[in-house]
Subunit: 166 residues, 2 copies
DNA sequence: CTTGTTTAAGAACGAACGTTCTGATACTTC
DNA sequence: GAAGTATCAGAACGTTCGTTCTTAAACAAG
C-alpha cells in the first residue's frame, strides 16, 4: 500500500475511503481491468465478420499493450489471478471462469459460422488455452516478436483446421 | 513456515538448518520439482521414437498427476513461478527459461524428424505455450477430462500440421 | 471572520510472518 | 554412566504490512 501511495500520489485515506481495504481495491482493479483492458482486447473479436483477422487482432492488441508497458511484463491480470488468487478465493475463481467463458464465446463468434458447432466449441476452447499460455510466457520473455511469432503459429493452425473441416 | 512445520511434522530448526531460509527452501523445492516431476513428465518424450504418443504421454502424465492430487490443483510449479516469482527474481527467471528451452527441445525430439527444422521448432514452441496454458487452466478447473479434451485438441492440431507439411 | 467539512501527511497500532533463542529431552560415543 | 551432540517445542525478536488515529492545513458556506 505504501508503494501504491507513493506511485499514485494518492493517500492512504482516500484509498481506504474509496475501497474499504486492500481486498476491495484488488476486486475493483479486477473489475476495471475487465471493463477496460479485456473489453478493448476482445473488441476485434466482436465485430460482425471478425473472422481470423479478429482473432489475430485480439492477440496483437494484448501483445502491443505488453510491449508498450514493457517486457517481460505484467501479463494479463485475469491470467495472473488464475494462478495466484483464484485457487484461494472463490469469488475471484468465479470471475476467472466467467472471463474464460466470455473469451471462448468471443472466439467462437469469430470462427467461421459454417464450421460444425462442436468444432467451433473445440477450437474456441483451444484458443483460450493458447491465449493463457501466451500471457504466461509474456511474463518471462523480453521479446514481443517471439510472442507475435507464437500467435502467428496459433492462427496458422486454426486456419489449417478450418480448411481441413471443409 | 508454521503451516509447513505443521503439515510436514518437521521442525523449524531442521528446515532452517537444511535450507538456510525460506528462499533457500523455495529454490530447493524448485530444483527437486524439476528433477522429479518434470523429469517424469518429459520421460514419455525422451524415448527413441516417442512421436505424438510421447507428446500425448507428457500431457496425460501431468493431467493424471493433477487429478490424483486434486483439481482445481497446484498446477505446475514452474508454470506458477513464471507468473509469480520469475518477474521479481532473476535467478528463477533464468531457471524458468531453461525449463522452457528443455521442454521445447523434448517436444522437438518427439516431432517427426522428416519435418523441416523450422517447422519442428515452430511446433515445439507452440507446444510449450499450449502446455503452460493448460497448467494455468488446471488451477481453476475441477474437471480433468476437460483438460484431457483440450490436450486432445492440441494433439489433433499438431497431427494435422504434420500431415499438411508432407 | 467563523464554523464546519474535507484533504493531506505521518505517526502509531496490531497482526502476521520469517527467523532466532532458550531450555529441556533424547541419542550417540567413549 | 558421562559427556557431548542432535532434536525438539515453544517462546521471543524484529520486520513488514494492512489499517487506523492524530493533527494540521485547505477549503466551503453562512
Amino acid at each position: 500500500m505504501a508503494d501504491l501511495v507513493a506511485a499514485t500520489g494518492s493517500t492512504r485515506q482516500s484509498i481506504y475511503g474509496d475501497f474499504g481495504n486492500k481486498d476491495g481495491l484488488y476486486r475493483a482493479c479486477f473489475a476495471l481491468y475487465r471493463e477496460e483492458v479485456v473489453q478493448t482486447a476482445v473488441a476485434p473479436l466482436t465485430h460482425e465478420d471478425a473472422g481470423l483477422d479478429g482473432i489475430a487482432g485480439y492477440f496483437e492488441t494484448q501483445i502491443a499493450r505488453a510491449e508498450a508497458i514493457g517486457l517481460p511484463g505484467l501479463g494479463c491480470l485475469v491470467g495472473n489471478a488464475m494462478t495466484e488468487t483464484a485457487p484461494c478465493d472463490k469469488d475471484i475463481n468465479a470471475l476467472v471462469d466467467q472471463h474464460n467463458d466470455l473469451l471462448a464465446q468471443c472466439f467462437a463468434e469469430a470462427l467461421p459460422k459454417r464450421l460444425p458447432p462442436a468444432k467451433r466449441e473445440e477450437l474456441s476452447q483451444f484458443l483460450v488455452v493458447a491465449a493463457q499460455g501466451l500471457w504466461a510466457i509474456s511474463r518471462v520473455t523480453s521479446c514481443a516478436d517471439s510472442l507475435r511469432a507464437r500467435a502467428k503459429t496459433i492462427l496458422q493452425m486454426i486456419r489449417l483446421e478450418i480448411d481441413n473441416a471443409e
